[in-house]
């Protein structure tokens, strides 16, 4: 299979912070807002260099979303920063009315998504955010897989006119996508060609999918691995083309099964090309405290879970494959 070398272990939120700082230099219309989590969101560099364009709103996320919407009216490109939970569930109606329905050019940048947030536990580990955001008309939903890709995605969304939800995380994670790889919103990335099963992964679990692919190859199972960094709009063409070839699907994401990437793919396949599918996702449970790697195991999001899902789904393939 295609080999990916790790360029160190880095948190995706730092990719966001680095790109935001760069955007500050590139584009005078870029403004950043933060709800008392500047350090956690890695927004310090932007805040230090562009104090006139950095708005500390305090612990008041609803107000932050409204201010961001208002800033767009004056031509600004606001990037809001707080944890994923407080970026979505806490402020859903503010986003719905003042940002999505009004189609405002706000970039909702959300860190600490999913169980890999770790020790803080379920109050902070949101697993429903992709679902909430993708249900909103006008909203683009992006969940990059590593530092480099989060950096690239942050730069890319500044040039996209419209509301965007950008989801990333807290833990240090293998950084393996090529530095400087352009990020095209809505265009999936084929990471490994295969013929037996397609694994569609998003976020942190893209790396796990690649590791699962390696294990499967040792068992003479050739998995296609596709990085769906943009959950909405979904790259339907690439998904259908791959499933047409492999005939079965595994989705992998650090999110609730309801409303996640797998849910979007299942809807597409049900409409266009029904195929056996397994979903590696959290099944209707809240998270809990623990180390990220322990929690991934406990919630069924680990590498062996993807391997087993692939074997199960291949067994369900109709005989024509």
């Amino acid at each position: 299979m295609t080999e990916y070398s790790i360029q160190g272990s880095k948190d995706t939120r730092s990719g966001f912070g680095e790109a935001l700082h760069e955007l500050g230099k590139q584009n005078p219309e870029v403004v950043a807002l933060c709800a008392d989590l500047t350090g956690s969101l890695k927004m310090e560099a932007f805040a230090a260099e562009f104090p006139d364009r950095f708005i500390q709103v305090g612990i008041a996320e609803a107000n932050m979303m409204g201010i961001a919407a208002g800033l767009t009216i004056g031509g600004k490109i606001p990037f809001t920063g707080t944890f994923a939970n407080f970026s979505t569930g806490r402020v859903y109606d503010q986003i719905r009315q003042s940002i999505a329905y009004s189609n405002k050019n706000v970039k909702i940048c959300a860190s600490h998504a999913g169980v890999t947030l770790g020790e803080d536990g379920a109050t902070h580990q949101i697993l429903e955010d992709i679902g909430m955001m993708k249900m909103l008309p006008n909203m683009t939903v992006i969940n990059p897989c590593d530092f480099n890709q989060t950096r690239a995605a942050t730069l890319a969304i500044a040039n996209h006119n419209g509301p965007v939800y950008l989801r990333f995380g807290r833990p240090k994670w293998p950084n393996f996508t090529p530095k400087g790889q352009p990020f095209v919103i809505g265009k999936s990335l084929l990471l490994n060609e295969g013929k037996d099963v397609t694994i569609f992964a998003t976020g942190h679990l893209v790396w796990n999918a690649l590791q699962a692919c390696k294990i499967l190859e040792n068992q003479n199972i050739y998995a296609e691995v596709i990085n769906i960094h943009t959950i909405k709009p979904l790259d339907e063409e690439a998904i259908l083309a791959s499933v047409l070839k492999t005939g079965c699907v595994v989705s992998a994401e650090e999110h609730m099964r309801n409303g996640g990437l797998g849910d979007s793919i299942a809807q597409l396949l049900a409409r266009k090309y029904p195929a056996p599918m397994e979903m590696v996702a959290v099944n209707d449970k809240f998270g809990e405290s623990g180390k990220p790697e322990e929690l991934l195991v406990k919630f069924g999001l680990d590498i062996p879970d993807i391997v087993e899902a692939a074997i199960r789904v291949i067994a369900r393939k109709p005989s024509r494959f």
Partner: protein, 281 residues
């Protein structure tokens, strides 16, 4: 430059529009729209005077207005049309399928004069703050106005916004609370008392003015005073006492007219109390 008398005549026509629009749509919220007609007319025709022929989303070089209590849509649409943003005949489409005059203000249909959706309460002040901050960043010395309802102040987001605007010295902002004392379920005091609004806003660090919002002279003078208070390090708040349903005796001060449309007879009675001044749509 319109005289006070001409402004009053326009406000009366706006009130006729409101009754006819709500009656025509068999739905809508006449009460607070009637109460705020004088304020909205004064704001557009005498104070802000934006260019209605050149509506731009960013409103650069102009004062901006945000309606937080979006259920005053009928009154706002009427003022926008009467001011020249669109043909007054379009008021007849209010709340009907395919209209740009949605039940609550929206941007999706591209109605000139509207910059953001509102209706879900408590969000407008935050948006107005954002627009005011953008004006400062753009070195645009024009002002941002925001109208809020009194019942709406029960939403917590307002108090986040009030704290922010004072704490961050957003002094190019004039917020106005329509203090008519009633909300859907009844008087504020029965639903959830608002307490002393003036004291609360002052404690939050705002410059606070009060006015009676159904006297055109007082409205214009207070708004001018509010303009003078801007740029002094504090946001400006006007606590505007109004009568819900002002101009129609059986609607006045009656919370039951918050979101109810008048039947044919009631419409007739109401219109008899509101002279056609500058022509019905």
């Amino acid at each position: 430059m319109l005289s006070i008398q001409e402004l009053e005549q326009t406000a009366t026509q706006v009130r006729r529009d409101i009754i006819r629009m709500v009656h025509g749509a068999s739905s809508g919220h006449p009460g607070a729209s009637l109460g705020c007609a004088d304020f909205l007319v004064a704001l557009y025709f005498k104070i802000m005077k934006p260019d209605p022929g050149q509506f731009t989303m960013d409103g650069a070089g102009e004062d901006l207005f945000f309606l937080s209590n979006g259920h005053l849509s009928a009154g706002w649409y009427s003022v926008l049309a009467r001011y020249g943003y669109f043909e007054v005949s379009e008021l007849d489409t209010f709340r009907k399928m395919g209209t740009r005059l949605q039940g609550h203000p929206a941007t999706a249909e591209g109605l000139p004069g509207i910059r953001i959706s509102s209706g879900s309460l408590g969000q407008g002040l935050s948006v107005a703050i954002g627009a005011a901050l953008a004006k400062k960043m753009n070195h645009d010395d024009h002002l941002v106005y925001c109208l809020m309802g009194d019942g709406e102040l029960q939403e917590g987001q307002n108090w986040e916004a009030l704290m922010f605007a004072a704490g961050k010295k957003v002094d190019n902002l004039v917020a106005v609370v329509d203090y008519n004392g009633v909300q859907i379920d009844g008087p504020n005091d029965k639903v959830l008392p608002l307490g002393d609004l003036q004291e609360k806003f002052e404690a939050f660090g705002w410059n606070v003015l009060t006015m009676y919002g159904n006297d055109m002279t007082e409205v214009v003078e207070t708004l001018k005073k509010a303009q003078w208070f801007t740029g002094q390090g504090k946001p400006v708040m006007i606590v505007m006492t109004t009568h819900m349903g002002f101009g129609v005796d059986f609607m006045m001060d009656n919370h039951e007219w918050h979101g109810v449309f008048p039947n044919d007879t009631q419409t007739q009675t109401a219109l008899e109390q509101l002279n056609e001044t500058i022509g019905d749509y």
